[in-house]
Subunit: 491 residues, 2 copies
């Protein structure tokens, strides 16, 4: 097996794999130990990384040493440090030790869990870990789970299942006379994530088929407005088939009233999907369980452990009480994939677009086992505590104002210093410019990365506290930087 | 930073990460060194893995030692060993050392390459590596690349871009009077992968909107039949908008005549997508470049490095000469994701459904650099040589017959022993039963995993030689097992 001929045709020798494997483990340990020495955002110019790399692939192989050294010299300078405790932009995903090690093992095994037969452990561990996670979140046992890659894909599958249900309902009710989707209408709040629009367009729903429901002062969907919209639309020939409620919207983390929306959807026979990609994890804490009030009456839910449960990207957990609709929409197969066990097992490939399926449940299993339910609870609880502390600081600071309620790890705020015009229209314009400038200054500090949104035409800065390495001291540092940068602008 | 309070809220300590990181590196090295000691297919019963695991998640965290020991005891027994050199079923994906280590690094960094701003290196390395791969495959420079997770998703994006182009063409040509997709028709051969049907249904094309074109004796789409179908469909009010040609079909790895099909598509203004998910990699070898003859005239191509380029699952490379159509179909954004660099850079999130994007280009870069173009060429070339040798063995063996031409690493064959009925109808039925029995016996041997297909109603066994650990001796072993199992049945 080790003659000259075959040697050059095999994989990297195991001695070499061990050597560089250790080296990379050390590299990651050192990186995470010293991550605060890095600028959160890289200082790279557009095209700089690309220009530092050869135009052509190497003809002969390079040593692993060269590869690692090239990585350090050429790739590291352009890395945005998502694992940095001061990365507080967007919904900041961070990866934990047990999650990183599980992904290493998953790459080593390289199984493809498309069907039970192609890896029984992958299918059954997915069933077990999703059942565990459901218990942790208070999702009732009647819900069936599957892991997709991203929340965009989870929501796409939800809306596709909703479309499948609509086909059945409409065909039975003889409402749909022709096989087209131009009459279908989907509803979500003005604050819903834009991935919902993407899903709908992908599935062949028209832009006109997406109706945005107004929100209240706390950015929550107004159920009465939904109810009115559905009634009005039915009169005008639309076929309402899906509502997406959001638990933790992206801009402000507002929580749509799921219970009231579910009542409307039940009555109207409309599929209700709950996008809890970011905030769903908070339901692990008993005192936050209210966010899922009414969840037993929805049709599907998405929660992303890769957002706020320290799981390396990507892992999106999707639950539905109507898996048969999902299966009906996606269960196509071919002779070359069939096996004798098919009738008796779950073949996850029958419930989605993607045939290839990485061993993602492994990292969910490692993380839940390593931290335990209480360990995850403590971390989530601490993030919420830190966010509320930050909000208090904003509320007690004359230079700033808070722009939305704080439920989870995100605080929306803006600077409102005293020397701003009193004229209302001038004032808002000035404030928008000032806050944009402030955010740019903060993000150029190397020490902190925040993001922004616009709320009622007001430029709003967002801080998101949900990284596993983010501690009280990091939040205090953030306050100092924000205050200092504002002072710099004002003087 | 290390007081009692914060300690329990942080990640695994780096000393622990190092210790268990080394241990897992060793575990993988040992596993791959001794992989032939494992049964390719596990002997687990349905539900056995699930039943061995607790019904409830652990309240308190467990030691990493317990996790690894549970993994060994409870998960390993249900693993199908995709990295085993005798896993010769489906298109067998295998992961190489440099690919595994790159995935470890990717999980450690945990960046999300949704836009340039969120990780410049991820965006620019994706551009560079896809450019390298295009050069290796002979894909012209006018093609623009993006990495998706799976071929199913690459093809979904292709068909969505085709639909977008159709909208424009039809609106300009005033052929499409209403905004529905019920008139759209997509074409592929009878031998195309079922993911094409899934894509079409997902996108809102009806089942009737998918037309299968007949194949010739070598399982290749017949261009004249396509041409006729398109003309006939136009007369009947259909709007032909997309053709999918396959380079390396799943059952037999037949190669559709891309050049002739492209000529038809150009003339008819139909988007041509080439599904070369498995076989595309072969174009890296100069003498196999013919498979992409005419590629300069197609609209999109998918090639999966995770299938035959030793890349851990998942990584699907997608190229299109019309990225503007893809962008038009998927470019929706929101205030909370905008940054000042947006106008000047590639934001990959604008070209697809998924917003979250793992750092996949890193493993492509590691693999191309480590093996070099020649190293990858040698390995692919050797697999093809071994497959042709296996085919010779079949051709020279009176007990078997070959069922399709061999171009790549796959050989289709069946047993045709002498003592089978001469009556043609009885004969085929007997042969089907015999070959199904033979495959079951082979797969129960623990030593070899093959899969099957059905060709012209004939049950056909498939052997796929494309694993990085598969050497000549493994193919010889396979021959021995196949022959012995047949003898066992016959005596």
């Amino acid at each position: 097996m080790t003659n000259g001929k075959t040697k050059i045709l095999e994989d990297m020798a195991s001695t070499e794999f061990r050597k560089y494997g250790y080296e990379l483990v050390d590299w990651i340990a050192d990186y995470l130990d010293n991550i605060e020495d890095y600028s959160v955002l890289p200082k790279t110019e557009i095209g700089e990384i690309k220009n530092s790399l050869p135009d052509q692939p190497p003809k002969s192989g390079e040593s692993f040493e060269t590869i690692l050294s090239d990585f350090d010299k050429k790739i590291m300078p352009g890395i945005t440090h998502w694992n940095h405790p001061n990365f507080m932009a967007y919904f900041n995903s961070t990866s934990s030790g047990p999650g990183i090690l599980a992904d290493l093992l998953s790459a080593g095994l390289n199984i493809n869990g498309m069907s039970w037969h192609t890896c029984p452990s992958a299918t059954e561990l997915e069933e077990v870990t999703l059942n565990w996670l459901a218990q942790m979140l208070g999702i009732p046992v009647k819900f069936w789970g599957i892991i997709y890659d991203t929340a965009s894909m989870s929501s796409l599958h939800a809306v596709a299942a909703a479309r499948e249900q609509a086909k059945e309902l409409f065909i039975n009710g003889e409402e749909l006379s022709q096989s087209n989707y131009s009459q279908l209408r989907i509803y979500c709040s003005e604050q819903a994530h834009f991935s919902i629009d993407k899903c709908a367009l992908t599935l062949g729903i028209n832009k006109e088929g997406i109706r945005k429901i107004p929100v209240d002062k706390e950015f929550r969907m107004i159920p009465e407005k939904l109810s009115e919209a559905v009634k009005q639309d039915r009169k005008n020939g639309w076929l309402p088939f899906c509502v997406v409620a959001t638990v933790g919207t992206t801009s402000t983390t507002s929580v749509d009233p799921v219970k009231e929306i579910a009542t409307i959807c039940k009555k109207e026979k409309i599929w209700l999907h709950v996008d809890a990609a970011y905030a769903g994890t908070a339901a692990i804490i008993p005192e936050m369980r209210w966010i899922f009030d009414g969840i037993e009456n929805v049709d599907s839910i998405v929660v992303n452990p890769h957002k706020w449960m320290f799981t390396p990207i990507d892992l999106s957990a999707f639950y539905t009480s109507k898996p048969e609709m999902l299966k009906q929409a996606f269960s196509l197969s071919a002779e070359y994939l069939q096996s004798s066990s098919d009738e008796k097992v779950t073949n996850y490939m029958d419930y989605g677009i993607q045939l290839g399926r990485r061993f993602r449940s492994l990292k969910l299993w490692f993380i839940i086992k390593y931290f335990g339910v209480n360990g995850i609870r403590n971390r989530i609880r601490e993030h919420i505590r830190l966010a509320k502390k930050f909000a208090d600081w904003i509320d007690n600071n004359d230079d700033f104002e808070r722009m939305a309620p704080v439920h989870f790890g995100v605080v929306c705020f803006r600077a409102v210093p005293k020397n701003i015009s009193d004229d209302q229209s001038l004032r808002e314009n000035e404030l928008n410019k000032l806050n944009e400038k402030l955010l740019n200054k903060i993000n150029s500090s190397d020490k902190l990365f925040l993001s922004h949104t616009v709320l009622n035409n007001k430029y709003t800065i967002r801080i998101s506290i949900s990284g596993i390495r983010t501690l009280e001291k990091n939040v205090k540092d953030a306050q100092l930087i924000i205050q200092n940068k504002l002072s710099e602008i004002l003087t």
